[in-house]
Amino acid sequence: MVIRYGLGGAVALAAGGVGLSLQRTRPRAPSRPLRALDERTFSILAAVADRVTPPREGFPAASELQVAEKIDELLTGVHPAVLEEITQVLHLLENGLAGLVLDGRPKPFTALSPQAQDEALQSWKRSRLGLRRTAYKALRGLCAAAYYASPEIYPAVGYPGPPDFGNVAGGPR
């Protein structure tokens, strides 16, 4: 629930490297037709979601919970400029050239090992650049919110779920 505006500076950084990425984004097939994001952006987002909420006992993979698809759905209801900003932040993360210049990382995010992806996210989380911390917060917030709002994870966190007041046809989903 966290993302929003104000990523303009990050966007400028991303624009510098567009088209100069050293490798192509590793594609991820959405489980249904996309409604807001394009396929490349979706693939990057899905890769981020995998690392924000990695699978472990009781915690299904983000892809299994369709975290990136849920974010795609949420983004159908935001201002087009917000969608554009999120897209550009994801492209910035993916951008191999920017990675090379700023972090010595020449590969696109989607081509990195899971461990290297975690290191990339950590470096944004702890960056001295406020813009990178903003971008980290945006992407982490979106992925974490979509994942932990999924009833499938309630057992793993010990949450019995909301009580049923019979309000909604079929009870709580």
């Binding site: 690392r51 909420t53 159908t76 702890r126 917060k137 007041f165």
Partner: protein, 513 residues
């Protein structure tokens, strides 16, 4: 029911409406005002950009509630994303999703408004009958301590162990099920939100309530409002349908809240003195998490039953804070946690033993504390900026230290800050770690649930937007009736002050028709 609810999204052609009073917004200010105006026989049109959502849609799932009931689908934030802005957006405004805590305005705040901002005639005694009236209608009363959940007991017991003040809170509930889901829309209509109280009262007497209708621009001719231009919104995309809705009232009232209200005036070019959107206050919130050996189950039970104002006044040169508790559901907890990966799973996996306290900083009272700013982006979207001053960062630090001590005193052996790399405090001996941690934007989670200011009332037309009767300094048929008129924050949850102020404003607005 003499009135009606009209879905602007369904308009097939442009529409023009005339009325005595048009109110923009259906929250704590607009609803109380509307009920009083229709009672006085006036013809009132209300515009609400959100939908009319009722308990039949409240399935208490975070995935549904936040996009449906909050501004920007739950994603409103300051421009740097440092502060998450929780603000309602449906019929009832934030009253549909607030956590029910009610306070009368502190006397010290009224005194400050009079002495520093020249506010006249608004004080504890002039508002007393209005507080009485809204307390009666909204069933505002003290919540019994024996019903407090374990998370609230942490605050109470921890404060008592330390010799600090803490007290039960008053809530606007009638037939509360104590479920803990106030923030997702009350499932039993126990919370006396506007959409189950003053809005139906107003509809009974003839209110026309337009939903999915966003007020875009106020049209002024000379020194008089002649129309407000609204865009019907498609609820699926939240984008304008392309139809136009024009309301031509004798008097226009902005009750659109402290962010959208100033934005409406700015879009309308009504900012002669440059004060619109200035001095925006947020009661910026920091939180501390604590794990207990016993179950806390802070996802259940009234989220706020206990509060502490022990640190509300910390003396000269310091920003005070007050302490309350949030509901702890999985998504909200995950949002507050700053890390990712296995650390985040480790945190969430212990949800039933997790208690959380929040500290709300009382902004706007220190000399020179100008708070934040509401402005417009080039594409017309609203923008909120909120710099964190050294004094506020100091308040955050002191807040986190106080909360950790309370949680330790209540028996926690693992208190965690909400820094992206959390500071863990296992005993008082670890407190220096927390003291040494960084405080400020994007250094830890910050929230706001109380948006105030931006259209300040005051005596000086150069330094404020409306006068002490809530009337625009230059435009006599324009009023602002919501939390945006506060010249400072309140130091208490603001809903009841807004209810009472709107109740008090009824005669003033009616007299202007």
């Amino acid at each position: 029911m003499k009135g009606r609810i009209v879905d602007a999204a369904a308009l097939r052609s442009d529409e023009e409406v005339r009325c005595d009073v048009c109110i923009v917004g259906s929250g704590a200010g607009g609803a109380v005002l509307a009920a009083g105006l229709v009672e006085r026989g006036l013809d009132v049109v209300m515009l609400e950009e959100g939908g009319h959502h009722t308990k039949s849609e409240f399935d208490l799932q975070e995935a549904h509630a936040y996009p449906m009931l909050y501004q920007e689908r739950g994603m409103r934030a300051t421009a740097d994303l440092a502060i998450t802005i929780l603000q309602g957006r449906s019929v009832g405004g934030s009253t549909t999703i607030n956590w029910t805590t009610c306070f009368r305005t502190p006397d010290s705040i009224f005194d400050h408004w009079r002495s520093v901002h020249g506010v006249e005639g608004i004080d504890a005694s002039s508002l007393a009958p209005h507080f009485d009236a809204v307390e009666e209608r909204l069933s505002i009363h003290e919540w019994p301590l024996e019903l407090a959940n374990a998370n609230n007991r942490v605050l109470l017991d921890g404060c008592r162990a330390l010799g600090w003040d803490a007290a039960p809170l008053r809530r606007n509930v009638r037939g509360c099920a104590n479920s803990g889901y106030c923030g997702m829309g009350c499932p039993v209509d126990g919370k006396q939100s506007m959409h189950v109280t003053y809005v139906p009262d107003a509809l009974d007497r003839g209110l026309s309530l337009w939903v999915h209708a966003r007020a875009e621009r106020i049209e002024v001719s000379g020194a008089k409002v002649v129309a407000v231009h609204a865009s019907p919104l498609d609820p699926k995309t939240d984008r304008p349908t392309g139809r136009r809705l024009v309301v031509r009232p004798k008097v226009l009232v902005s009750s659109a809240g402290a962010i959208n209200g100033p934005a409406l005036l700015l879009r309308s070019g009504l900012n002669d003195n440059g004060r619109v959107g200035k001095r925006t206050f947020l009661h910026p919130v920091v939180a501390m998490a604590a794990f207990f050996d016993r179950p806390v189950n802070a996802f259940y039970g009234a989220p706020q039953s206990v509060g502490s104002h022990h640190f509300a006044d910390r003396g000269e040169g310091k920003i005070g804070f007050f302490l309350e508790t949030p509901p702890v559901h999985p998504m909200l907890a995950a949002t507050a946690f700053g890390g990712f990966g296995q650390a985040q799973h480790d945190f969430l996996a212990r949800l039933p033993r997790l208690g959380v306290l929040i500290a709300l900083s009382v902004d706007g009272l220190l000399p020179g504390d100008e708070g934040g700013t509401v402005s417009l982006r080039r594409d017309g979207r609203v923008r909120v900026d909120y710099p964190v001053s050294d004094a506020l960062a100091e308040s955050f630090r002191a807040s986190c230290m106080a909360m950790a001590r309370i949680q330790l005193a209540a028996g926690s052996r693992e208190v965690c800050s909400l820094h992206p790399d959390p500071v863990v405090v296992r005993s008082e001996a670890d407190l220096p770690l927390l003291e040494a941690a960084p405080y400020g934007p994007l250094r830890h989670s910050i929230f706001t649930a109380h948006q105030m200011g931006g259209c300040a009332m005051g005596a000086d037309p150069e330094r404020s937007v409306v006068d002490s009767s809530l009337r625009h300094h230059r435009i006599p048929n324009l009023f602002v009736v919501d939390g945006s008129v506060f010249p400072t924050s309140l130091g208490v949850n603001p809903s009841e002050t807004i209810y009472a102020l709107a109740h008090w404003a009824r005669d003033r607005v009616a007299a202007a028709v």
